[in-house]
Amino acid sequence: MNLAFTPEENAFRDEVRAFLAEALPGDIQRKVRRGQQLSAEEHVRWQNRLNERGWLAPGWPVEHGGTGWNPVEKHIFEEECAAAHAPTVVPFGVGMVAPVIIRFGSAAQQRHYLPRILDNRDWWCQGYSEPGAGSDLAGLKTRAERDGDHYVVNGQKTWTTLGQHANMMFCLVRTDPQAKKQAGISFLLIDMNSPGITVRPIVTLDGAHEVNEVFLDDVRVPVENRVGEEGEGWTCAKFLLTHERTGIAGLGHAKQALRHLKDVAHHQTHRGRPLIDSSGFREQIARTELELMALEVTNLRVLAAARDGSTPGAESSLLKIRGSELRQRLSDLTRRALGPQALPFFADFLAGDDDGLDNQADEKQALTAAVSAQYFNRRKLSIYGGANEIQKNIVAKTILGM
């Protein structure tokens, strides 16, 4: 037993670090570091750099353009990206629809879509949740009726992240209303420029426009855009839930958030001393550090098991629960560390405008201007991808047999 990384793993880490130092554009890094929202152009510019290096799709099989990294190497890559303030790769194409197409799609679908995902010609969004189907996703109502070579789709999707930039959506639709809940669902690839699609922004409590509602009104989708058989959409959806969940703890982000918290608490003054030296606050930082240490080892245990061939199952739920709680706690402490400076809401700055701050502001202030927004934004971590309460149901059922 040895918890240290091997020399090969450390060499890989150095290689990733060197690449990031050289390839990550300074303007993008600065925005990520400040917590500002990136434009579509910035996301694509970074993802093109990754693709040039062959590192955009770590989870794919090598023959389709994957890296061949094992779960430990993927973890190291994610951790280094977070530490370097690189943008998170928008997951809907590379991380979500692509694995489904690779697993269930036709050869023609693979030939058409996979290269377009790698070179960022297509921006994908996810059409899963509906106003009436959140945690109970299989309760979705969006209808797809067959009309010759087409499906005619009617319904509403919601929480469509970055759908405002997307030209493609993968979508769960009900093709057989008579079948039992899960059985009547199919998986469709829909062109967002089709007539009948309306995307409307949802502004979240942090002031951001990240998610959207998507209305589908008699949208015609070619039958060839169905992945898998009719009625087998739920199989695709379930496959995605267990695929690539090793990064689910968000450990790289948590480590970065802890560094930021310590930095803020170091620069804030409390009764004439750095806040980090005030025992009450310091104790809370120390407690989160313990939680992070424990989560890191648990995460490594799951990664090592995945590397050695076992499929992470319900352990993913444990990592998701504790990882989201930890990141929420870190964002909470960072907000509280700021004191009254947590109050100002600079909407333009948060949306990515460089001049959005008060013109007296220096870079130090810019680095904390998004803290409250991040605190509110992080509330989503315990809600999306199956709320933490749902994760507990899963653990109770599958691990504990309750």
Binding site: M1, N2, K262, L290, A304, L318, K392, A396, L400
Partner: protein
Amino acid sequence: MDFSLSDEQRMLDETVTRLVADRCNPEQRRALIDERSATPSPLWRTFAELGLLAMPFDEEAGGLGGDGVDLMLIMQALGRGLVPEAYLDGLVIPGTLLARLADDSLRERWLTPLLAGEHQLALAWHEAASRYDIDTPTTRATRNGDAWRLHGRKQVVLNAPGAAALLVTARHDDATLGLFLVPGDVAGLQRHDYATFDDQRASDVELDVALPGAALLANGDTLKTALDETLAMGRAALCAEAVGAMEVACAQTLDYLKERQQFGAPLSRQQTLQHRMVDMHLYLEQARSMATLAATSVALPAEPRDYRVAAAKAYIGEAAQFVAEQAIQLHGGMGMTDECSVAHYAKRLILLDHALGDRDYHLDTVMDRLEPVA
């Protein structure tokens, strides 16, 4: 990065696990407690025969050269059975100090029989005002020609009733810390024995004893280094024992929820109780990670070793308390009874936090050394 056990470690794990299952069910455990005497039990002799007593010591000291992970496996298995043998306090802690500090003749007299299972020892360091600090005793050591005089009072000396000799911390006239070997039958040593809440044996010890010059094992920095190493190992061992006990407390609670019928259905159908049970399980898995971190850190240089071990002990103190309290709560009234097995696990889980520094003590260490801003 590798979490797998070696073949030897897997065998060790199976051996101890089987031994505990065969020899320490609740009735056998009760008998072991009732029949304890000043000399080692038959079970302890079996430990010796299986090499378990030699495992945690260097080969040069007559041991089998086991590492932190070996010790973790043993302690985890002992924790699962709540085995009422002083493996840590009677063997590992005093034995490690002797192996580090004693000369050949003292080793032969005290360490060799210790590893052979012929006697046990104890470390006497708690005092009325010491709390968890080992380096500030008020017990005085005075030089008297070639000999020593030790005068003072030790409290809660774990395993003193089963020990052939005590290792006693004392302060020299110049305030330097010293460690002395005090045979149990020396004139001027008075023991007041009692049981602890978690079925260990302990004593308060009055000392006014004369000792030969060779009774001094070590002083000052040499001693401090050996104590720090030994206590780190002991703390890591307690973390592992806690994980073993938490495993059983969780398993028994889960069984109880599935079996106990209320409102016409098993309690395990109640979502509130399901989620509580998941929380216990989360704490268990995180504690397992921390115990692993501690076990693989005991051979590191002092600074990372002490930081990680303190972090693990602080975390596990909290985790163990959560599991203990919820195990009682989910057992309802049954959990309050002496007859209920899980109550004994709960008592051990709560009180092992009081050994070698509790969660507050170790959180303080983490706070003192909080890794600086990168």
